[in-house]
Every structure is written in C-alpha cells, then in structure tokens.
Amino acid sequence: MSPLDASGYRRGQIRADLELIAEMIEPGSRVLDVGCGDGALLDLLAHDKNVVGRGVEISQAGVNACVARGLTAIQGDADTDLKDYPSNAFDYIVLSQTLQATRQPRVVLEHLVRIGRRAIVSFPNFGHWRVRAALLFGGMMPRSRALPDTWYETPNIHLCTIHDFRALCAELGVRVERSLALDAEGQDKRIVTPRWANLLAEHGLFLLAADIRR
C-alpha cells in the first residue's frame, strides 16, 4: 500500500494530483467536482480555499460518505446528468480521471466548458512511451501504474493520448490555458513541450476554457 492510498480516495486517484488541481482554483470560487469519490478534493478546497463545492459521484457509497462529512454531493453520471446544469453555473468544474470512462467524452467535454467558466480535466495518457512500448513489443493491451486494470476489467472505454485530447479541444473551440504533464504519482514532471509531454507524461492535467462564451 502506498501512503497515497491512505487518503481514502478511490483507486487511480492520487493525492498529489488533487493538490495540483486545488492550486489551479482561485479561493472563494464555486466548484463542481464531477466524479468526486468520497470528497477528498472538495474537503481540501472547503478548508484551504474557502470554496463552496458540489460533488457528483456515480457510486452511492461515495455520495453518502461525502454528505456524511458535510459536503454537498449527489449521485449522478457524467454522461447523463450534466445536461441538467445551467451554463456558467460554476467558476470551475473538475473532471479528474473520469473522462476516459465516459461513453461520450466529446459531449461531456462540451458540457464541462459550458457549465464551468473554467474546466479542469485530468486523464491517463495513452501516448506514454511505456504504453506504446508495451503494445509494440508485448503485443498485448498495456498495463501500467496509471492503467492498472486488465482490458476486460478496466472502466476505461475511451482512452486517449495528450495529442488526441488537444486535437478534440481545438475542434470544440476549447482553449487550453494550462497543461501539466504528471508522473504516475501525480507529480508535475515540468515538461512544457506538448510532443515530449505526450511521450513522457503518465497523466495529463488541463485547465480549459471555452473560446466563445455561450
């Protein structure tokens, strides 16, 4: 067990990742955390940044845990429930390690930049060299620290590379305001060149905004 797991946050979600997300958020802002797990990020934001946060979580156990610790959360699904939220309802909307598990990532991304004035999105990078090498030399679906599950058990149905993600953002008119290349522990690898990030980052973390406000 790594000490990171001791935070009680769900598997694949890493504490350092959350801290980097929290750093992107201005104090006192309104935040919607989609896929909030048991509320670790919302709790951090409430106490460190005076943030009025809301959570959406697919597992009812996670929601109940959030509410029992005094956070606002509802059971919901990024694929089906984001359409109910009005535009610009939040300063930030966070989708951490969830995009690749949605049925319609493109629609979800459109909702994110509609609902939040800014969107913060992180996902495992399928362009990482180990992933490429595993498929090229091993000939089997890659498994790594960022992608621990077998192909038949993984919830990840729409994996993408950092390049893929940037291309979709460009297509949707979504501006990348900041991008970080993270290692498997969620630490910033401080790689600025997108090409190198796509090769060396195990996770991508993006701060986004819609180019034209709707």
Binding site: A46, Q60, A68, L71, T72
Partner: protein, 393 residues
C-alpha cells in the same frame, strides 16, 4: 402576545375542551384569516404543536419537523404512553435531530385530528363538528398555517425544515414558497407531485371509508358512530404500500397464525392477514376517518411544478436553501425516481443539493425506522450546514 400576532395561546392542556393533547394549542388567524387554495378563508383556527429543546438567543437553531399522513405533533414522547413517538429514532438527546442542540417544532397539520383545526373539531360558527363542511385543504395551506405558527413564535429563519412522505411534500412547498425562511431543507422519501398510482391507492382508501354505512355521509359524529370497518380497510390497504415485498416476506412469509393447518375458511389463516387486521383496528382508535379523507386529498392535489408554470425548476429559481434529498432503495410508494426528479430540478436551478439513496429493504416506512446510514448522512449534512454558516459560505 395576543394583540400583535392576532393569536391566542392555550399552553396548558385541559384549559379548553379541545386541548386533550400535551403540548400547545394556539389560536391563529384571529385578525387575518388563512386564505386557502380553494378560495375560502379559515380563521380563527387552532393549531396544536409541540416543541422540544431550547431556542437559542439568536433564534438560529430551530428545526421544523413536518409529519406524514397519519402522524401528529409528537415525534417524541407522546402523551399516550402506549405508543412511542413516531420519530423517536430521529428526535431526542443524542439523536440526529438532537434536542440538546436544536429547538424542534412539530405541529399537527391542518385537517389533522390531533388538536389542529380539522373535520373532527368544532366549527366555532355553528358549534357543531366541521365534518364535511371543513374546507378541502392543500399542502400549501398546511405550510402557510405552519408559517403563521413560526411568526407567532418569533422565528424568522429556520435552521432546517425536515419531513418524510407527506412531510417531504411540506418541506418542498415550504422551501419553494418561503426560501428566505430556512437555511436547509430535507425532504425524505417524498415527491414533488403525487403519482397516479398513489392517487389510486388513496382513492381505494377513501372509497372504503365512504362505503361504510357508519360513515353516515361524513356526519358520523352527530350520529354517535365511527366508520371503523371502512377506516380499518383503508389503513390495511395503505399499510401494504408502506412496506416492501421483501420486508413482508421476511416478517411473515406464508406462516400461519396460531394454527398448524389451513382452515378452508376466511378467518385470518396467515400471519400477514392477522398483522394487517391488527394494523387496521388499532389505527381506528387513534385516527379520524374524515381527516383521512381530507389529508389524502391534500396529498393527491400536490403538484409543485403545476404551481410554478409546469417546470419544477421554476419553484426553486435562485433558491439559497441547502437541500438534502433522501430516498430508500425499496420504497415503491415514493421511489427514488421521484426524488431524482426533485434533484434534477434543483440542479437546473443551480441549487445547493445533496442527494442520498439509502439501501434498505423496509420500503417506504424506512424513514421512520432505525436506519444508521440515514442518521449518519443527516448528522453530517446538518453539521456541514452549521459549519458553513459559521464560515460565512
């Protein structure tokens, strides 16, 4: 006291003929009557209520508890000691609605039969029981009467309004009509409108009562009769809807009642029959048949979206209220889908809403029972509301 609010209070039970219940009996609408949804005016009228705990100096710890169809103003410690309070698990020292910290207010709803103005009480103008001359009331009327009570108590803003089933309807109505008068709202096992299936069940109950010859076209009190059989059947039918198939099976299965084999007759062979008969007959001794008609009607009429131009989200536009919507997995009377509709509307209004579904096989009645996860969630929610209020969020 009387001059300003137009209210007359009788604090001691027994001081007036109608003050049979412990707690307070208050006369409201003396100067300004209650304007009912059906267009009539009601006033003066009596409201019977209980309080528990102490109101703090800045009057910021008041919680209004709204009871369900057959509840009363005694969630805890009722005057008749045979039955416990209907929400003993929830209200009391150390309970989620902790009487050491909160000031709990619970009033018998308008149309009820535990002391508040209803068909069983005496019409001041005629000196006769209201019976069917009592106006048909709505959930909105019930809530307006409760707000008059809060005005009388000098409470501008509640910490929370909470209730299950019909209580949840009142919570939603309260939050929609008086968003500035409560910090938080907790509708449990409720709905924003009564479904066709639920109206149908209520109609069965009402027809059972009205088919009883002792109902006397609603005038049974002056005939010295009680429509026991009708009311008992209504309760039996309703009681089934409060449980779940799993709970009935676990409790009774096909077990026989005090016998080893079938009697080939229509006696209560099965335990479940005996149980229902007991539920029916014990209900008759504590509830008024006409009240049952009026209150089920109020629930049937409830449709919060219709009151707000057909869109439920309109009912909550720009609401500052913090909601915690709660449902139970095995509740088929007010299923989770109904709560989810409330949540969707609140989201569309960008409201501060939590939604929790509790795993339970006890059906609709789960909200009255010992459900530790419900209590944990509720404690956390109320604690969070208090902390955020302190932080000024």
């Amino acid at each position: 006291m009387q001059a300003l609010t137009g209210a007359v209070e009788t604090a001691e039970p027994g001081a007036r003929p109608r003050a049979r219940h412990a707690g307070h009996h208050l006369e409201l609408g003396v100067e300004t009557p209650l304007r009912l949804d059906n267009g009539q005016e009601l006033g003066p009228f009596t409201i019977a209520y209980r309080t528990y705990g102490r109101l703090n100096a800045d009057k910021s710890n008041a919680i209004l508890v709204c009871h369900a169809l057959t509840g009363d103003q005694h969630p805890l410690d009722p005057p008749d000691s045979e039955r416990g309070g209907w929400w003993e698990y929830m209200v009391g020292p150390g309970r989620p609605l902790d009487t050491e910290h909160y000031y709990i207010i619970c009033a018998n709803c308008l149309g009820g039969c535990s002391g508040t103005e209803g068909p069983k009480e005496i019409n001041r103008e005629t000196g006769e029981p209201w019976g069917l001359t009592f106006p048909v009331i709505t959930i909105g009327d019930m809530v307006r009467a409760q707000v008059m009570l809060l005005d009388h108590l000098g409470i501008d803003k509640l910490f929370c309004v909470i209730g299950g089933s019909m209580g949840a309807m009142q919570v939603l109505e309260f939050a929609a009509s008086y968003p500035e008068r409560t910090l938080a709202a907790v509708p449990i096992a409720g709905a924003a409108r009564h479904s066709a299936q639920n109206i149908a069940f209520h109609e069965v109950g009402r027809q059972a009562i009205m088919a009883d010859p002792d109902w006397c076209d609603g005038d049974y009190m002056s005939h010295g009769k009680v429509p026991r059989r009708g009311l008992a059947v209504a309760r039996m039918a309703a009681h089934i809807t409060y449980l779940s198939e799993a709970a009935l099976h676990r409790k009774f299965g096909r077990r026989l009642q005090d016998r080893s084999e079938l009697t080939y007759g229509f006696d209560a062979d099965f335990q479940v029959e005996s149980y229902l008969r007991h539920q029916g007959s014990s209900f008759v001794s504590r509830f008024d048949a006409n009240s049952y008609l009026y209150i089920t009607r109020a629930m049937d009429y409830f449709d919060l979206a219709a009151e707000h131009g057909g869109a439920l989200a309109n009912a909550f536009a720009d609401t500052p209220v913090r909601f915690c919507v709660i449902s139970f997995t095995s509740d088929w009377l007010f299923p989770t889908t109904e709560s989810r509709e409330i949540v969707h509307a609140l989201n569309a209004a960008a409201a501060d809403v939590s939604f929790v579904e509790i795993e339970s096989d006890k059906g609709h009645d789960a909200f009255l029972l010992d459900e530790p996860e419900l209590f944990a969630v509720l404690r956390g929610f109320l604690q969070g509301c208090a902390e955020r209020r302190e932080r000024g969020q």
